[in-house]
């Protein structure tokens, strides 16, 4: 099948968007369980929050909100939820600093599991751009 070319510059809205779900090959190092290593046990509001979040997640609730005040151990709660549901997780942070901080914390919670860090290549984002008015290409 030949690749279709683009003939205009307009933002094309697809009539219907179906997420692409490609097949993946067999995993060669699969089957390992999440094991959380910590000396802390949930306390305060945490046990109730964890139980509720896990129950809803397992019941198939698509969206949940956790309102956690600063320092209430939101990261710990997230880690406990991951440990309870035993499913791979993607954690989105609004910027690199917070991503780095979360990465450090999750790495210490799950030393034997694959905790990975995925941010933009560039130290600060400077995309290719052209400013016609001043004829400058960055």
């Amino acid at each position: 099948m030949a690749v279709q070319i683009r003939t205009n510059l307009a933002e094309t809205e697809l009539a219907q968007f179906t997420p692409h779900r490609p097949a993946r090959p067999e995993k060669s190092e699969g089957g390992r369980a999440f094991v959380m290593k910590t000396e802390y046990t949930p306390s305060g509001d945490q046990p109730a929050a964890i139980a509720e979040l896990v129950a809803q997640a397992e019941a198939g609730e698509r969206d949940q909100v956790l309102l956690g005040v600063t320092g209430s151990g939101k990261t710990f709660t997230m880690a406990k939820v991951i440990e309870a549901v035993q499913r791979p997780a993607l954690i989105l942070a609004p910027n690199k600093i917070l991503a780095a901080q979360l990465y450090g914390e999750f790495k210490s919670f799950f030393p034997d599991n694959a905790v990975e860090y995925f941010v933009s290549y560039y130290d600060y984002y400077q995309p290719e751009a052209y400013v016609p008015r001043s004829d400058s290409y960055i």
Binding site: I5, E11, F34, L67, L92, Y121
Partner: protein, 591 residues
């Protein structure tokens, strides 16, 4: 491009395809395209101990997978052939490589070794090698893509020529042909992501593959600080289109570069797996998703309660801040100050510096990695006060923070909204003695709501503490080095033997060295060579010291690594830190 980040990205995608126990921490930039899962997972090969394999064939495969042959400089993403053995430095490893020993066509042994020392670390039974680029593409697809690119180029050139845009046509033809030649020769080119639609064979308008396509179906998505992250996801695609159209219009890129874009919000929404939004102040969108239902976590395990909030007049805010910051520093804690503008942050830093405080600034123009170092140094106590704008909000974890000062708190707006205020106040909630001072002449609606929410939480927390007899304790947390590099790990401890200048480390060392150099030259010019030599030795010691050959731990002050945000400097978007003003005398950036 940052080497460490590139390695971690490879490690992340590989882990997703190979393991079940994966946690990926990502920033919203993961909405941008990367190579497709199909080609990335197809362009791999496995080797088993005792199996048969042709070494030449493996070398060919490695080259197709964007590994480079590097017989002398053996670095990540390289391979080399040493007689009967083949050594590969896989793209996801930082400091270990694989050695495959052949006996004729048989794989005799596979081992993991340290590329620096050559020492074998482990014997392996099987390995699987992934490509050195996410945009790696199998040969036939590449050929098909090249044809399509050429076809689109011809069509576009006709169009541009018909419009009389000769310059643009010329520019586009030159660039695209160059890229095509590069693709034909090496399988890749600079900015190959702009051709991603040809490589993946998708329709115009379809989003490129992203990290979300690598995620298994049963994954859980956590959105941290969702009140900021969710709007950011929506904003990603919006600015992108205009910029790409300009590039295409003026002949810098083919029209198809438009399809190399971040996911749109609706696409992300359709693609995301089961999601958990986490925030201290959840936003309207996610609350709407759950119909206003949320799980609350107000009680802290440490028993810490939300900090008391004081209101002081704006008039004497800077004077008052100096007093309070000094008091806080004397108590051994740090102070966070938020201003309204970058310029004000920089100027205030200089002013506080002159008032005798150890202070730095941090804003969006300070480089990301530098910001991490700044926070680390703040925590270590290299300096006591950090001035910022809104970087000092969500999730920034500084248990040592004893005071949060919000200047001009009554200037209602984005930076002083209810959400912003609650978030900023939260920075002082990690410490028993944490306090917050709002400098304001009147109480705005946002302030009122933020304080009411803080009070509600405080009441709930106090009640819980009384009920359970809990005494709050400050969180103790290690100051982890996320991006620690080798030189920091195995430094040799050497005493400078330079007692008088020791305290300059982390301060004005560069300026001091410059001064010493002047003295040395002067001494040499005066033919006092012995003095000059003594000064030279002193400079060397100081420089060695600064380079990371550390001072004896018992006597040295805490040494900072951050170099940005220094008092008396400005940092702008496109340039490094500059010294303020126009004084002729050159002074080092300081440390």
């Amino acid at each position: 491009m940052n080497e460490a980040i590139d390695r971690m990205r490879h490690s992340a995608t590989r882990a997703l395809l190979e393991r079940d126990d994966v946690i990926i921490v990502a920033s919203v930039s993961c909405l941008y395209g990367i190579g497709s899962v199909e080609t990335y997972s197809a362009m791999t090969f496995s080797l088993k101990k005792g199996g048969t394999a042709d070494q030449k064939e493996i070398v060919r495969k490695l080259v197709a997978m964007q590994y480079k042959r590097g017989d002398l400089s053996f670095a990540r993403g390289n391979f080399r052939v040493r007689g009967d053995s083949l050594e590969i430095f896989p793209s996801h490893y930082e400091d270990s490589a694989w050695r495959i020993s052949f006996f004729g066509d048989e794989v005799e042994a596979i081992s993991e070794f340290d590329p620096l020392t050559g020492e074998t670390v482990a014997k392996l039974d099987a390995i699987k090698i992934y490509a050195n680029s996410h945009y790696v593409t199998p040969g036939p697809t590449l050929k098909q893509a090249s044809e399509a690119i050429r076809h689109e180029l011809n069509e576009r050139l006709k169009e541009l020529n018909a419009e009389g845009k000769l310059l643009e046509a010329q520019r586009l033809e030159q660039r695209t042909n160059f890229d095509l030649e590069m693709i034909a020769a090496t399988g890749s080119c600079a900015g190959i992501e702009n051709y991603s639609r040809f490589l993946t064979g998708r329709l115009p308008g379809e989003p490129p593959p992203t990290l979300f396509e690598y995620l298994p179906e049963n994954a859980v998505l956590f959105i941290d600080e969702s009140h900021v992250t969710v709007p950011q996801i929506g904003a990603m695609a919006k600015g992108d289109h205009r910029r790409k159209v300009t590039l295409a219009e003026y002949g810098f890129r083919l029209p198809s570069c438009i399809d190399n874009r971040p996911l749109r919000f609706s696409e992300w929404d359709a693609m995301r797996p089961q999601t958990l939004f986490v925030s201290a102040t959840p936003g309207p969108w996610e609350m709407d998703r759950t119909g206003g239902v949320f799980v609350e976590q107000v009680i802290r395990p440490t028993g810490l309660i939300d900090p008391p909030v004081l209101i002081r007049p704006v008039e004497d805010q800077v004077e008052d801040l100096i007093q309070e910051a000094k008091k806080t520093a004397a108590a051994g804690y740090r102070t966070l100050v938020t201003t309204l503008t970058k310029r004000m942050a920089e100027d205030l830093t200089e002013f506080l510096h002159e008032a005798g405080l150890r202070v730095r600034y941090m804003h969006s123009d300070v480089e990301t990695l530098e910001r991490i170092e700044l926070i680390r140094d703040l925590r270590l106590g290299v300096y006591d006060v950090l001035v910022g704008i809104n970087l000092l909000r969500e999730g920034l974890d500084i248990p040592e923070c004893g005071l949060v000062a919000i200047l001009d708190a009554d200037k209602e707006g984005f930076l002083r909204s209810e959400t912003s205020l609650i978030q900023t106040i939260g920075r002082a909630a990690r410490n028993v003695e944490g306090r917050v001072i709002l400098y304001a002449d009147r109480i705005t609606g946002s302030m009122e709501r933020a304080m009411a929410e803080t009070d509600r939480r405080r009441a709930k927390q106090q009640e819980y503490n009384e009920l359970h007899g809990i005494t709050p304790t400050t969180i103790k947390r290690n100051i982890g080095d996320v991006l620690a590099d080798v030189s920091m790990k195995d430094g040799l401890v050497v005493d400078t033997g330079d007692d008088e200048t020791q305290h300059l480390v982390g301060h004005n060392l560069k300026a001091y060295i410059a001064e010493l150099e002047e003295q040395m030259k002067k001494a040499a010019a005066d033919l006092e060579f012995e003095t000059a030599a003594a000064i030279r030795d002193q400079i060397r010691r100081l420089e060695m010291d600064e380079l990371g050959v550390p001072v004896d731990e018992r006597t040295a002050p805490v040494k900072g690594r951050a170099t940005g945000g220094v008092a008396g400097t400005r940092t702008t978007r496109f340039s490094k830190m500059q010294k303020k003003g126009f004084s002729g005398k050159r002074r080092g950036a300081g440390r």
